[in-house]
Symmetry: C2
Subunit: 103 residues, 2 copies
């Protein structure tokens, strides 16, 4: 797995989270539905959530690549796949995250 | 860094994200404010968001530990700190994530 595939999984996860929060059966989805927003507010809520989720996933990916802080601390983590091959150690995830989340 | 410290940074990050979304100046925060919710709805919104963020951070941590899928695929990643020491390779993050996010 390379950084492109790893980031693509996070992009897919973001979509799964959005779908679950908006249409799912979990506690959070039920709590959002309990707001009983009108149609216009609901559309705005999910636009806001889309922005928030992009920020969250993008920030965590940059954090894992040592390009941003997680919890206020920046560290040069190494992320490897099962076999030990490096997925990212020097900016590969950062570049892909920008490409897939912000372009 | 061990799994306990790594997960603690993610817990701190979750709090920073909540604070930014609710009281910050970023685009997402502005979009949430534009919903113009009344006080009761606003409280419910941030309770829903707390649940959602716990789910998101917990799931991603489990995914990084090979204990859950990210984007529909489960992989036994290895996460190492700068020096190469293993932060998690066999469930350490999963156990800590449960402890810090769900107990």
């Amino acid at each position: 797995m390379d950084a492109q595939e790893f980031v693509a999984l996070w992009k897919a996860e973001k979509r799964l989270v959005q779908e679950e929060l908006r249409h799912g059966t979990g506690t959070a989805a039920q709590q959002f539905r309990a707001l009983e927003l009108d149609e216009g507010q609901s559309q705005k809520l999910w636009e806001a959530m889309d922005t928030a989720l992009t920020d969250i996933f993008y920030s965590l990916l940059l954090g894992l690549d040592g390009a941003a802080a997680i919890g206020g601390e920046q560290h040069d983590y190494q992320l490897r796949e099962e076999g030990g091959s490096l997925i990212s150690g020097s900016g590969e995830i950062e570049a892909e995250a920008f490409e897939q989340f912000h372009s």
